[in-house]
């Protein structure tokens, strides 16, 4: 990898230990991914926030660097483990709360915008076409590449942090060009967001760094997010392109049989004790749509709704929050279904969700059973 004189000097430690560490990460990542140089990025989105995933080691590391480290570019943040407004309702132990707050404080000290959201593409302005960014949240990286005309690799928590501290990233893979060698043909009638989540999950398994998808109809935002979330869960693939691709592309079909395969892999229960909506977190239009669907209806069981804090505040002003709470929803900001410490198998056997991403982590990380249902089915069967 070619480094500029300034980058060399940082790597040698002439600009302090933090910069040296950040450049070590960029160089190690760049060498591992065959980058030939570093390029500027304008926005970093960090993962590695939830105490449930980064543990004591992560908490201690962030605490130690927070004294000196400062971000150089706009930097936003993934969800953490809970919503401080209602954490007392969830029987979370004191140690978890204090460690999580320490992580929050460290990121704020470093200069990160405390967005605690996995949908930065929905709550922040999108920079101009082809802008290089560094997104560590997989659904956000896929959404940025596929729908927002931005360029990012599927960053790790560490490469994104190093990019935030330096404003640079290795020039490799999806930052350069993408020429998928695989085309998936969508061949399922009347798809819901659940179907698109499954399509993404399937694509992530068979795709390398990018795939073509043909046969897609007009999709709404919920369906697009579901597809990005599903794809980020199952592999390394971080972009889809629309269309048939080159004639030499291998062709694979996504049909009812594949839907059944994903269903069999992730659906382990016929019904859930609670419902979760949001992974990725719901944006304002999904909250608005949910409020409309719940007019005159109430959930028969607990329903947790995950949304960014900024969306929760907007929803409160418009009156959606009242509507949803009246219908029995628990609205949580700053956190998400994915890797939540608020659901555990001591109190919950099975969760109903329309999220493939949520299902994957509930099953594999929380160890609970999962009942997959589209939102319209959830409203139909779980409310009265």
């Amino acid at each position: 990898m070619e480094l500029t004189r300034d980058e060399e000097s940082a790597l040698k430690g002439e600009q302090g230990e933090i910069m040296q560490m950040a450049y070590r990460i960029l160089v190690a990542t760049g060498e591992a991914t065959d980058a030939d140089k570093l390029i500027p990025i304008e926005w970093a989105h960090l993962s590695g926030v939830n105490y449930n995933t980064i543990g004591d080691a992560g908490e201690e590391f962030l605490s130690s660097i927070s004294k000196d480290a400062r971000v150089k570019v706009k930097t936003t943040l993934n969800p953490m483990g809970f919503d401080i407004d209602n954490v007392s309702n969830y029987n979370l132990d004191k140690n978890f709360i204090s460690k999580q707050l320490s992580i929050k404080n460290s990121y704020e000290a470093i200069g990160v915008t405390p967005s605690f959201s996995c949908i930065p593409y929905e709550i922040f302005d999108i920079p101009k076409e082809n802008t290089q960014v560094a997104f560590a949240e997989s659904n956000a990286a896929i959404h940025a590449n596929s729908y927002d005309n931005l360029k990012t690799n599927k960053e790790s928590a560490f490469s994104a942090l190093a990019s935030a501290l330096t404003g640079k990233s290795p020039y490799s893979s999806l930052r350069k060009e993408d020429s998928p060698n695989l085309t998936i043909s969508m061949n399922v009638k009347n798809p819901t967001e659940l179907t698109y989540g499954m399509l993404g999950f399937f694509a992530g398994k068979v795709g390398d760094t990018s795939v073509n998808i043909s046969g897609l109809e007009e999709m709404d935002r919920r369906q697009r997010k579901a597809m990005c979330g599903g794809m980020g869960t199952s592999g390394t693939c971080a972009k889809f392109l629309f269309g048939d691709g080159d004639s030499d592309c291998e062709k694979i079909e996504f049909d009812e049989k594949e839907v059944q395969n994903v269903h069999d892999e992730l659906n382990t229960a016929e019904k859930g004790d609670i419902i979760t909506l949001g992974s990725p977190q719901l944006g304002l239009d999904e909250i608005s749509d949910l409020a409309a669907k719940l007019k005159g209806r109430s959930f028969k069981k607990r329903c947790m709704v995950f949304t960014p804090r900024t969306v929760k505040e907007q929803a409160r002003k418009i009156g959606y929050t009242n509507e949803l709470e009246r219908a029995g929803c628990e609205i949580l900001s700053d956190c998400c279904t994915c890797l939540t410490p608020l659901i555990n198998k001591d109190s919950v056997d099975a969760v109903t969700t329309n999220s493939i991403k949520g299902a994957f982590y509930l099953k594999n990380s929380n160890g609970v059973d999962v009942n997959l249902k589209s939102l319209s089915k959830i409203i139909e069967e779980e409310t009265r």
Binding site: L11, M21, R24, I25, V27, A28, T29, E31, A32, T33, G48, T53, I54, G55, D56, A57, G58, E60, F61, S156, A157, F158, S159
Partner: protein, 129 residues
């Protein structure tokens, strides 16, 4: 040969033919491998030149590498056949030298060999005894 993280150390080879998942199978305090199915089961990787095919599993395992280093239980260097981002970023955080070597070079390294790693030299990896 590729250099992922620079550095200069001397030490004794601890070789494994199994990949290592740092998240969950390496004790953060002692550097002892706790995976029963691993060929280094119950052995410590502390202060060795750890030679293994590659890291696997969640990238959060990078924090484990940082932890074992903070607890003075980390390898002196890691030498792999295949570059992976957990080992690359974990060792970058912890400042542990990492080399990626060829299949033949990997086969030539044996347990107990004394080697020197110096990424600034013309021969980054040499056997000295």
């Amino acid at each position: 040969m590729k250099i992922l993280v620079h550095g200069k150390v001397k030490g004794v080879v601890q070789k494994s033919n199994n990949s290592i998942n740092f998240l969950g199978t390496v004790d953060k305090k002692t550097g002892i491998i706790s995976d029963k199915n691993h060929d280094l089961f119950e052995k410590s990787i502390a202060n060795t030149i750890l030679v293994f095919p590659s890291g696997v599993g969640s990238s959060v395992g990078a924090y484990t590498i940082y932890s074992i280093k903070s607890n003075n239980s980390a390898p002196l260097a890691m030498v792999c056949k295949k570059a992976d981002l957990t080992v690359a970023t974990g060792c970058a955080l912890a400042n542990i030298p990492v080399l990626i070597i060829s299949e033949n070079e990997f086969d030539s390294l044996k347990n107990g060999m004394k080697v020197e790693i110096d990424t600034e030299s013309n021969i980054p990896l040499s056997i000295y005894e």
